[in-house]
């Protein structure tokens, strides 16, 4: 039985890996299509129908390109940077519940690799490790642009991490648990956390943009002034690793937002569906709902990219330290007052 269990988990991990990679690859396609659509162009349309084979062609190309390691660079750290960035971006999906427990051939299989009881702290830790990938890679390149991009990236990520953590704390006061599974289960039906924590969600959303280095917070890699920032010197698969890491991070943060604030696999009227379809098919609908939410968030990421211009560096830091952190602290205090107030109200 132990072996069976191991196989089940390994299969789930493999599925998750393939899924993450596919979504990341097709995010690049979707990004170009969405950009084209917003700018009234056609976008990629040569490789396959609607250009659907484009990501495969791009991915394949990366493997066939020459690896260049600059002579001035620190060779080991130069390789360690992108591998760390890619590896760490994968780890985030381990604790995400993608659906309710599903019954396959009489076995109840949880659609979650592992339910760590401190899941939120785990995600938080793993996401903040991502900054090492940027910092190590940018520093090891021995290139001025890369160094600037790396320092900017590190500084930006740590600044927005505080506001992100504080907004999560307000959420934890509502949920009382750090486990993703329980948080998802609590939001049964339409009791989504975004209804209780609208300000917290807004802060989290802004910080998610900053943590994933997406426009308008793409200062570490802005093409126009830093020529790619920390990835200037990278070529072939190493550059692809950074790019994949960015898109996987986008996927992970979309997933986290969907689970923490938008109910994950829950949707209004799910009880009726559960009763009608039974334990094998109804979780699959939940998974579909979850992925609908994730894709909506990914689309939102792309939409913002073509709507908002990039911040200046002092504006970015001011927004992080002087607006978001005080707002997040105010959000905590307001949430605490409301909870204590309700408590008092119930006793009267």
């Amino acid at each position: 039985m132990e072996l069976e269990f191991l196989i089940e988990k390994t299969a789930l991990v493999l599925v998750l890996f393939v899924l993450t990679l596919t979504i990341a690859a097709y995010s690049t396609w979707a990004e170009r299509k969405v950009a084209a659509w917003l700018q009234d162009r056609v976008g990629p349309n040569r490789a396959g129908p609607f250009g659907l084979l484009q990501p495969l062609a791009d991915g394949g190309k990366m493997f066939f390109k020459e690896e260049i390691i600059p002579s001035g660079a620190n060779k080991y750290l130069f390789i360690a940077g992108p591998s760390l960035a890619l590896l760490v971006s994968f780890l985030g999906t381990a604790v995400i519940p993608f659906g309710q427990n599903i019954e396959i051939f009489g076995r109840v299989v949880p659609l979650q690799v592992t339910d760590i009881n401190v899941g939120i702290l785990y995600i938080f830790g793993v996401v903040s490790l991502g900054v090492y990938g940027i910092m190590i890679g940018g520093w090891a390149s021995n290139n001025k642009y890369s160094l600037m991009g790396a320092i900017r990236g590190a500084s930006q990520n740590i600044s927005y991490e505080i506001a992100m953590g504080l907004s999560i704390i307000a959420l934890l006061m509502v949920t009382n648990t750090l486990s993703f599974k329980e948080i998802a289960a609590q939001q049964h039906g339409w009791h989504w956390n975004v209804l209780y924590q609208p300000l917290g969600f807004l802060i989290f959303l802004i910080c998610a943009f900053a943590e994933t280095n997406r426009v308008p917070f793409d200062l570490p890699e802005c093409e126009t002034e830093l020529i790619g920032g920390y990835q200037t010197e990278y070529s072939a698969f190493k550059m692809g690793a950074y790019m994949f890491a960015e898109y996987i991070n986008m996927f992970v943060s979309s997933v986290v937002m969907a689970v923490l604030y938008f109910g994950g696999y829950n949707y209004p009227g799910m009880d009726a569906v559960n009763q009608a379809l039974g334990p094998t098919w109804s979780p699959l609908i939940g998974v579909g709902v979850m992925f609908f939410k994730i894709i909506a968030f990914i689309f939102f990421f792309m939409w913002v990219r073509w709507t908002v211009p990039r911040f200046r560096y002092d504006q970015l830091m001011d927004l992080g330290w002087k607006v978001l952190i005080p707002l997040a602290i105010a959000n905590i205090v307001i949430t605490a007052i409301v909870i204590v107030g309700f408590d008092l109200f119930n006793k009267l």
């Binding site: 269990f5 390994t10 260049i68 591998s83 592992t114 953590g165 190493k238």
Partner: protein
């Protein structure tokens, strides 16, 4: 079937980690095998917009980034202290045991957060959060022409020549009160008749 396995929750993370490492290594090795490898000194030099590389880039950088990292460390540690509080703050069992639990934990955290805020205010007042703003520098030009001449040209208002009587009487022109009589067009194109 409940999870009776001996693999703990973090053991599964280890499976995840191992598979991640295997995947990344496979990808790198594949790239190493199928990609061409023809290095030359030009190709291996650092990119500096096509210029010759000047010095190393491992130099001192703006210490402001370091200050931000220091402040971050303090705030992050304080945040870690709030996390456990947040999970037990509105715990129904604890409230049921003692009625005063909610108020006690609330006041405690209010004091803690006010200390946190005090730190933020201190850093803010000390201008450690401020970044050097770009200073607008007016370019100076070494010419004999006085600046006032440029200013006169810049401030002069040009009016398009309105020759057409119909346009002059149109409601748009009258609404906008454009003085068409006093201002003569500055530039009138002339066409030679052959």
């Amino acid at each position: 079937m409940e999870e009776y396995s001996q693999i703990s929750a973090f053991g599964k993370v280890l499976i995840f980690l191992i598979m991640g490492i295997v995947f990344v290594m496979l990808a790198f090795i594949t790239n190493k095998i199928i990609a061409p490898n023809k290095p030359n000194p030009e190709k291996n030099s650092s990119y500096e917009c096509g210029e010759e590389v000047i010095g190393s880039s491992w130099i001192q950088f703006n210490s402001r980034f370091y200050v931000i990292a220091l402040i971050f460390l303090l705030f992050d540690v304080e945040m870690v202290f709030i996390f456990p509080w947040a999970t037990v703050f509105s715990d129904a069992n604890l409230i049921a045991q003692d009625q005063r639990w909610g108020w006690l934990s609330f006041t405690e955290m209010l004091i803690f957060i006010s200390i946190l805020l005090l730190g933020l205010v201190y850093v803010w007042r000390k201008k450690d959060l401020d970044w050097i703003k770009p200073v607008l520098k007016l370019p100076t030009v070494d010419t004999k022409i006085p600046l006032s001449a440029y200013q006169a040209i810049n401030e002069e208002k040009y009016q398009p020549g309105l020759k057409n009587k119909q346009l002059e009487n149109s409601p748009i022109v009258q609404e906008n009160n454009i003085e068409t009589e006093n201002i003569k067009p500055k530039f009138v194109p002339r066409f030679k008749k052959s």
